[in-house]
């Protein structure tokens, strides 16, 4: 992975010659390199522009004006989105959610995040990029902190709106770690188990059990991997934690490493967060200097541990834990079949615990404050607090730390969204919630969530939004298994027909049946949840589908005009309309 990232940075793309050279150097076949390179959105096989402008494409970015910003870029550059300027200076593209839903419209420019964009910013951004000149080598990647200084809108104001007891009171570096090291590894796992901490990515697996299983599994090495591939649209809490509390994350990884008997921790950082690279590396260096990483950590004889950061390259699927492992090993990010589970055979075939960024921060604070503090918050089966990422039609978007158990209504009051009509809860892989269900509770017992909460007010087209989410899954399906690869594409086409008002009742039934087949037959969580935007909007907003139905009992997928388009082009004449 790092080799390909370096090639992409140096040459601007991964050429055939580079593939040959890498294959020879690594002693593998070129087709194996191409297999991996062609998988990731941030690698190119063909030359592209010197400056890469990637605009975030999500329903939230669209309602905040991303299309207008895109048009301003198109006009200023004289190209269409997806194209490169003739002078080779700029390539303009859409990209999936970049973790800035509370600052949309947002973009990545040469890996640097730009937030809260307006069309008026466009000339300033382009002028700054042109000024950087052509003579130097290509822009550095991952970008340096100093690279961002000359770009407008590159300073992101903190996303934290409301801190709870997890994030308040300026946590001290290594406090939790030191508390953990005073105990035996088994006692650490016991404490985490007592706290009833569950995975914060949304699946909610008990963390204590995961660590225990990993520790118990036999292997030459044991690994802790931190999943910072925060790709679920509308989520940005991990960005906040990694930017503002990286020490709590690294403390958590080190605690986990101690507990499960590991010597190496791996932070898988999504490619969209490359701009954090410099800072995170500085924090690691500082931790090594302070004896918080390296040999005999905090004076604990025999506890040696270090952390490596692996940068991703634009693939939502890599947030799925087995796909993350494949990517960590430098392969295409296809998922693995389980069993074996990662706790038995994970990274390089060794027992590996994979934890969400927020989960590790919770673990750090639990070691510092005790399990009783944690179980005192939230509900019986959902202890602690949750970082909710709120975006869309509300007055105060951002991260809210709330105890588990609050209702959607209470959250909406908190963020200033009194007239919300539709909440996309836990991202597109979660569910669409209508006002009649706003009384439901946020907890593993009721509505489980990774944190993403996208709010849509009156006048928003729910079905159009569902179509955009369906399109997201088409872009992000890994392609390995057929139901997801083909099914997501067919579902999108079915939804296009609905949005166009051409779907019949039979079409709806067929789309619903197909969606359920994809849920049941897909290999991993992506395929199993990809139909959710359609299925859950059907459930929550049946009246909207009904209103959009075609009156006819049959409507062809392709209209006659579309079917004839090719013939019209070849013949150069239009068909005569009947009434004439």
């Amino acid at each position: 992975m790092d080799i390909v990232i370096a090639v992409q940075q140096r040459l601007g793309h991964v050429s055939n010659a580079a593939v040959q050279t890498m294959a020879a150097g690594l002693g593998i076949h070129p087709v194996e390199i191409e297999d991996m390179v062609s998988f990731y959105a941030f690698f190119d096989r063909d030359p592209r522009g010197r400056n890469r402008i990637r605009l975030s494409k999500t329903p939230v970015s669209f309602i905040k004006g991303a299309r207008e910003v895109a048009r301003a870029f198109e006009q200023a550059l004289g190209i269409q989105i997806g194209d490169t300027t003739a002078d080779g200076m700029f390539t303009l593209q859409w990209t999936s959610d970049i973790g800035l839903a509370d600052h949309e419209p947002a973009a990545l420019v040469n890996g640097i995040a730009l937030a809260d964009l307006t069309p008026a910013d466009v000339p300033l951004i382009l002028a700054a990029l042109r000024q950087a000149g052509e003579t130097e080598p290509l822009p550095s990647y991952p970008p340096h902190l100093s690279d961002a200084e000359h770009l407008p809108k590159s300073v992101i104001r903190s996303s934290l709106v409301q801190a709870g007891s997890l994030l308040s009171g300026s946590p001290v570096r290594a406090e939790g770690l030191k508390a953990a090291l005073a105990l035996t590894p088994e006692a650490v796992i016991e404490e985490i188990t007592k706290s009833k901490l569950r995975g914060r990515g949304g699946a909610g697996f008990p963390t204590g059990m995961k660590w225990r299983l990993t520790r118990k599994a036999t292997g030459v090495e044991h690994y802790i991997a931190c999943n910072a591939d925060e790709g679920e649209p509308g989520t940005f809490k991990d960005r906040l934690l990694l930017m503002e509390n990286p020490d709590l994350v690294f403390d958590g990884m080190t605690i986990a490493g101690y507990a499960l008997g590991g010597r190496e921790g791996l932070l898988y950082l999504r490619g969209e967060y490359a701009y954090m690279w410099d800072n995170l590396q500085q924090v690691l260096t500082e931790r090594r200097r302070l004896g918080l990483l390296g040999a005999n950590i905090c004076g604990k004889a025999g506890f040696d541990f270090d952390i490596r950061i692996q940068l991703g390259a634009g693939a939502y699927i890599c947030g799925e834990e087995s796909s993350l492992l494949e990517s960590l090993e430098g392969k295409r990010g296809s998922t693995r079949d389980r069993p074996p589970f990662p706790t038995e055979r994970g990274y390089l075939g060794q027992p590996t615990a994979i934890d969400n960024v927020e989960t590790l921060v919770c673990a750090t604070r639990i070691m510092e404050k005790g399990a009783a503090w944690f179980t005192g918050l939230g509900t019986k089966d959902s202890t602690g607090t949750k970082l909710m990422c709120v975006s869309g039609d509300c007055e105060r978007p951002g991260v809210y730390e709330t105890p588990f158990g609050i209702t959607i209504n209470e959250l909406l009051d908190l963020v200033g969204a009194p007239d919300a009509q539709y909440v996309q809860f836990s991202g597109p892989s979660g569910q669409a919630i209508a006002p009649k269900d706003f009384g439901r509770r946020i907890a593993y017992e009721d509505l489980s969530t990774g944190g993403s909460t996208m709010i849509f007010g009156p006048g928003r087209d729910v079905l159009e939004i569902a179509l955009q989410f369906a399109d997201f899954f088409v872009d992000e399906s890994c392609g390995w298994c057929a139901p997801c690869r083909i099914g997501t594409n067919l579902l999108k086409q079915g939804m296009e027909k609905v949005v166009a008002g051409r779907a019949t009742l039979a079409d709806l039934a067929s789309t619903e049946a197909l969606a359920n087949t994809v849920v049941r037959m897909s290999r991993c969580g992506l395929g199993q949840t990809a139909p959710n935007p359609i299925l859950t909007t059907m459930r929550s907003f049946p009246e909207l589908y009904e209103a959009r139905l075609a009156a006819a009992s049959f409507e062809p997928l392709v209209t006659l005009d579309d079917a004839l388009r090719e013939a019209v082009k070849v013949q150069g004449r239009e068909p005569v309309t009947e009434e004439a």
Binding site: N16, E32, S38, G479, A482, I486, R520, M521
Partner: protein
């Protein structure tokens, strides 16, 4: 029964299995047919097609990649699973171009045979009309990617059986394609017509030239008996 053999039930039938067997392998040996497409008995399971998905202990999982275990309760031949498998076969038919009536593999094609066995009539989903160019650069073999179902058999066979790694995947999602180990096409690779990789294709994506009609249409494998019959024949007390 020693420690390494155990049993589970599939559709109420008790099947004996041994450690290391997948559910699919154990059922094959016992003469219980689970429909499958990407799986090949001589190659490692890849789990790409998901046709062999069964309900095992209440969960939907692919039988080819699930290790058999003591006491498993498996549903296989149920109306819902058959409908899901048929829907999946339809997806393959619309993803590619599969012109059965004039295809060289007709009667010998596992996709076609599964369509018949699972009761597919005509696809209800829209055709995607792929437009991949045929790779005829090799003197003895041609590649028609419009018929590829991305099962990964040839990739596995070329790497493990032929020791050549001629094939790989390229791209992701609906844009995923079968790729070959040379920019100039199959003709520039190490591939030979006698390679295992040339004979494992379940459809007619990899076709050996000048070899196609030695067995006439109507007299081929699946013209004689439905796919899976050979497995079911192994069932004790089976009557054809």
């Amino acid at each position: 029964m020693d420690a390494d053999t155990f049993s589970f039930t599939i559709d109420g039938v008790e099947v004996e299995a041994s450690k290391g067997q997948s559910v699919l392998e154990a059922c094959d040996a016992a003469g219980v047919y689970i429909p499958r497409l990407c799986h090949h008995p001589d190659l490692a399971a890849s789990g790409t097609c998901r046709i062999c998905t069964c309900k095992i202990n209440g969960r939907s999982v692919a039988a080819c990649v699930t290790p058999a275990a003591q006491g498993m309760v498996i549903e296989n031949d149920t109306p819902l699973l058959t409908a899901d498998r048929r829907a999946l076969i339809e997806m393959f038919f619309v993803e590619g171009n599969h012109p059965c009536p004039y295809c060289v593999a007709s009667g010998d094609c596992e996709l076609q045979a599964l369509g018949y066995r699972l009761g597919m009539v005509a696809p209800t989903q829209p055709y995607q009309w792929p437009t991949n160019a045929i790779d005829a650069s090799h003197p003895d073999i041609y590649l028609d990617r419009d018929r590829c179902i991305l099962c990964s058999r040839c990739i596995e066979a070329s790497r493990m059986e032929d020791g050549k790694t001629v094939f790989g995947f390229e791209g992701r999602g609906i844009a995923m394609r079968l790729n070959v180990d040379a920019a100039g096409g199959l003709g520039d690779t190490q591939m030979a017509a006698v390679d295992r990789a040339a004979s494992v294709c379940p459809v007619a994506c990899i076709v050996v030239k000048r070899d196609s009609y030695r067995i006439a249409n109507g007299k081929r494998r699946f013209d004689k008996a439905p796919i899976g019959s050979d497995i079911e024949a192994k069932r004790p007390g089976h009557k054809p």
